[in-house]
């Protein structure tokens, strides 16, 4: 820890300080305003949302860091994951609940992973010479996917499915009885956070990815097939989003707006955390989740207008962009 702090660039040290102060202010405000129980629930909701957003945002950030492609289809991947998983769950009603849920997760992640591989290898790879068209392409693909999902699965929102009995217990937190499934989502997010961190920092492929973020051409020159690593990272990002999508289904069900909602949140997270910075994304998703939850609670109690929370994260984004345009933990140039 001491070593880590000593090695931080001064700018990142300032960012850490800012984040800690900001979270402290949020906690104090919510404690003072809502009282202990509501504040605790709000913070819990915030962390939950942060974990879900992290699953989308980490893919966005990784893909941008390595490939220099802003993947607007990330929200659509989440959407497809949720709907495909839901459909699988419905189709396999002969199996036990646990198996159905597992099959739903696998099918969602698998479908989107394959889709991601096809998109990267078939559509994005020929466009590395024309970066603007890559952005436009992913944006168009997002619209197409949204349309396809609506066509295939219908415009109506899907009801939440029952999580398997193992995760369907109850626990009491701050005088409110909650489903254990929420804890599962948080654990899922944490596990993914840690495992991607380990993948990036402790494995051979991780060191190639990190080197590629620094300078992809140089890695290529050292005799490593960077293109294959590009595809891998794209698939990884897409699969993480799909995992987030299927994780939401038992909690909130699936709606068509979900993709764009989480895309916007992920964009805010990535901008705040700094494009291409993994730790920045992890911290920023917690910050955004907390901000969103506290703002929602605040606007609900004071103005009776929950939509104001939507503007709060945007204001946060504007503030960060004005303080530090490259994001809190981003690289210098941006």
């Amino acid at each position: 820890m001491q070593n880590y702090l000593a090695n931080l660039p001064p700018q990142h040290r300032r960012s850490w300080l800012l984040v800690v102060i900001y979270i402290a202010v949020l906690l104090v405000v919510s404690l003072a305003d809502f009282g202990l129980n509501t504040a605790g629930q709000t913070v819990f909701r915030g962390i939950l949302l942060g974990m879900l957003v992290f699953l989308v945002a980490s893919g966005l950030s990784l893909i941008f860091g390595l490939l220099d492609v802003l993947n607007f289809a990330q929200g659509a991947f989440l959407l497809i994951g949720a709907y495909v998983g839901n459909a699988t769950y419905d189709a396999l009603d002969a199996l036990s609940d646990e198996m159905r849920f597992l099959a739903a997760i696998l099918s969602a992640v698998g479908t989107v992973g394959v889709l991601g591989a096809i998109i990267e290898a078939g559509l994005i790879r020929p466009l590395y010479k024309r970066p603007i068209f890559q952005i436009v392409l992913t944006f168009g693909l997002a619209a197409i996917f949204l349309d396809l999902v609506e066509r295939v699965y219908g415009p109506d929102p899907k009801q939440p499915i029952d999580p398997p009995a193992l995760l369907n217990g109850k626990f009491t937190l701050f005088a409110q009885s909650l489903s254990t499934y929420r804890l599962f989502i948080i654990f899922l997010g944490l596990i993914m956070m840690v495992s991607v961190y380990i993948l990036l920092n402790r494995t051979r492929i991780g060191i190639i990815i990190r080197a590629g973020v620094q300078d992809a051409e140089m890695v290529q020159a050292l005799g490593i097939n960077v293109r294959r690593v590009f595809t891998l990272v794209f698939v990884l990002g897409a699969a993480l989003a799909a995992l987030g999508g299927i994780a939401i289904v038992p909690y909130q069900g699936a709606t068509l707006e979900m993709g764009n909602q989480f895309l916007i949140l992920a964009i805010v997270v990535v901008v705040i955390g700094g494009m291409g910075s993994y730790e920045g994304t992890a911290i920023a998703s917690i910050v955004v989740g907390l901000t969103r939850a506290v703002a929602e609670q605040l606007s609900l109690t004071h103005f009776d207008a929950p939509v104001l929370a939507e503007t709060s994260i945007l204001l946060l984004m504007i503030a960060v962009l004005l303080i530090q345009p490259s994001g809190l933990f981003g690289r210098e140039e941006a």
Binding site: F64, L70, I135, G140, I144, R151, N260, V271, V307
Partner: protein, 436 residues
Amino acid sequence: MIERAVYTHIQKIEDPTLRNIADKLAHLILDNWFYALVLLLLWRFPYIVADLSDTEVTPRRPTGDSVFWQSVMAQALLIACLSMSYNLLFGFSGVISFGHALFFGAGGYITFLMMREYDGAYQIRALIVLCFITLCLALFVRVPIRRLLIFLIGGIVLILLLMPNNDKLSFYQAVGLSVIGSIILSLISGTVTLRLRGVYFAMFTLALAEMFYVLAKSGTFREITGAEDGLVIRDLIPESLNPTQTFEGHRLMMYRITVIFFVIVFLAIRRYLNSPIGRIMLAIRENEVRARTIGYNTFYYKLITMIFAGVIASLSGVLFVLWGTAKRVDPSLLSLTYTVDPLLYTLIGGVGTITGPIIAALGLVLGETYLRDEVISIGSKTYPIAEVWDLFLGILFVLVVMLLPNGIVGTWNKWRAEQRIRKMERDLQRSKDRVA
């Protein structure tokens, strides 16, 4: 052939001033014969359709092919205007905005909110707020003080002229205010976003537009925006501008107004691109660092272009609302559709060409309506075109992005240029041979 005949004829005119005028007129028409022909076609379009389908242009009851196609054509023209304004940003300034729907929807919302909610008591307050915003922005953008004074005085005079002292705003005044509103909107969003580069700009505009969409859609402001149902504007539209009115001629009148609006937008954009500012814009698109090194304040020129595009988009939005059958300003105007569609049409028609977005938008919108009732059968299954149209559009989009980076018009222009070069080379070779 025709040109030579006309010009020799003009040369025979005795009176020099008359000859001059005739000469200029002939130049104007003959140099732009293609545009003149298209304009004529657009103007006569209701009659052509009426002749082809044997229906009336202005029937007593608004049914029949001519009437139907008038409104389809008008909406297609407005979408073409929107695409042109999008292309102004995307194709001519290299600014990738994913929030263009914001301006399109803002036009309708501001106009009709103003008409409904306006109260004489707001007048002074609105003026003060406007002055304040202008001052803040001027400090932020660092506009020269003389230019600032002109803006301020112009704005105040405009508002005094526009705002009546009685209770209600007329439609035209509200449209004027919506223009001012969209200028302010693009100024604010531009000053915040244009400092960002490429991807950050794209993300920020997307987030901003999506935020307004959510706000307009939410039930919290139901009393103001009407939430998902939108503003009901049936009583607010002046009767002479209501194209779905059953009285004779209103639809045709409105169709002509739309065509005129389209022509004005087209000419304005062409003029803008040929003006000094437009030229600087092109320089910025090609190489921003270099343009800044030469001494241009690139931020300022981008901001002006963004305002220009925003105003065009919001005016098209107002007209589009008038043409809608539901007579509502609903949140779907702010939705991603009206960002994606112009983007699609711009790409398919040709990024950075003036006519490209028009051709793509007219072709695809009219084509969709024309083929709506047809059916494709693949194997034993049949699909109505209306259902697979978006998929077709998506595939077309991907194909164009992958294979024709210059779009239809861009590729055509390139091909023409290559032909011309080849012809010149051939001529050169021939003359060389002759000398030898």
